[in-house]
Structure formats: structure tokens, C-alpha cells
Symmetry: C2
Subunit: 130 residues, 2 copies
């Protein structure tokens, strides 16, 4: 057996289905506690990490260095355009940017190149709201 089906993992996946923004393990833990769950913080950290490893959730690091998680619609590789104000997230395909990255890397003799590409801006709604 590889990954055991537990109440806690189910609770986390349920919660992530209800949330559209990237959330930290701490936020998820607090939200679950508020919902009446007795889940522990360490468990949230462990679950969210293993979910990220298997690709069931996406993770990235905020500018402050905190890891945040989100259940994305796209299961395949993609990137994000996040609103710095409300957290609204758009999943984007970065084919062009990745092609460019590959070229640049090859031009300098680099192999096995990983890329980090994330976009943060202010969405139309938040701009209108001031």
C-alpha cells in the first residue's frame, strides 16, 4: 500500500475543493479547526506535502517564503497569474516562455533546466474597487 485513505486527507481535499486561492498549511489548518475538525497542524503539513509530491495539489512559495497550496483544474504542468490583492488565480499555459527558457539554457550549455515562472498582478475587479 502506498498512501492510506484517511479522514484527515479527505478533509483537506474537500476543503481545497471549496477554496480557489492558494492557501498555506497554517491557513488550511485554521479553516479546518473552525469547521470543527480536530486535525493537527503537523498532519496538515504532512498531507499537503505528499499531495504536492503526487501532483494532486499545486504548491508555490510566496514572496515571504511561505509555501501555499491550491487544487488546480489542470493536472498537467502550468503556471499561475495571481491577483496580489484578492488572490484570484488564473491557470496559464507558458509554452512560449518555456521554449524561450530552453533556448537560453541550451545557448549557455545548461542541461536539465527547471524553471520558475509566476506572475503577480492586480485583477480588473480589484483595480476597479481601488
Amino acid at each position: 500500500m502506498v498512501v492510506r485513505q484517511t479522514r484527515q486527507r479527505a478533509e483537506i481535499l474537500d476543503l481545497l475543493d471549496d477554496v480557489d486561492e492558494f492557501r498555506s498549511a497554517q491557513q488550511l489548518h485554521e479553516m479546518l479547526r473552525t469547521r470543527g475538525s480536530s486535525i493537527g497542524l503537523a498532519t496538515v503539513y504532512r498531507a499537503v506535502q505528499s499531495l504536492a509530491e503526487t501532483g494532486e495539489v499545486d504548491s508555490l512559495r510566496t514572496a515571504e517564503g511561505e509555501s501555499v497550496y491550491r487544487r488546480c483544474a489542470q493536472r498537467s504542468h502550468h503556471h499561475h497569474l495571481v491577483c496580489r490583492s484578492c488572490g484570484r488565480t488564473v491557470e496559464i499555459d507558458a509554452g512560449q516562455a518555456e521554449a524561450w527558457a530552453g533556448q537560453v539554457a541550451a545557448a549557455h550549455g545548461f542541461d536539465d533546466v527547471d524553471h520558475t515562472i509566476e506572475l503577480v498582478g492586480t485583477c480588473a475587479t480589484c483595480r476597479a474597487a481601488g
Copy 2:
């Protein structure tokens, strides 16, 4: 007066001139101590932060969430291609990728878009070395 010229800041800039790879505040502190400096860790953190704010050094976050700093040749905006093995760093211009980012953001109604674009790979030397 805005930024005072101190022995410690000078030591840090001198050190950064001698180093080509991105280094953490802790590493810089240890290197300075080894060189005989009596500089404090907090001072290194403070100096390196303000230098990053004024653009005198570049900073980025490692996958582990640690902040690392480097004095780059290019003073203008640029990105990095870093060797995951030896830390060798190439400064790259990401005009294409940035244009793409601007388009994608505009297409989704986002404004004031910041981008994070970093490339990590294995350089030719390290690949040859196995």
C-alpha cells in the same frame, strides 16, 4: 542622510565582489568572520536587505526558502540561470519572456504585473564532471 557609509557595509560589498555565486546572509557572515571580521549576523541581514532594496545587490529565494544575494554585473533588470550543482550563475535578459508575461496578464485583465522567472539547470562543466 539616508544610508550611512560604515565599515561593515564596505566589508560586505567587498566580499560580494569576490564571490560569483548567490550566497545567504549566514554564509556571508561566516565568510566575514573567517576573514577576521567582527561583524554581527543581524548586521549582515540588515545590510544585505537594504542593499537589495536599493538594487546594489540582487536577491532571490532558493527552493528551500532561504534568501540569497549576489552582486550582479548588470545593474538593470535581468534574470538568472543558475547551476544547481556548482552555483555558477549566468545573467540573462528575459525580454521575450517578459513580453509574453505582459500579453498574458493583459489578456486576463491584470495590471501592474510582476514576474518571477528563474532558471536552474546543470552547467556543461558539472555535467562533464558527472
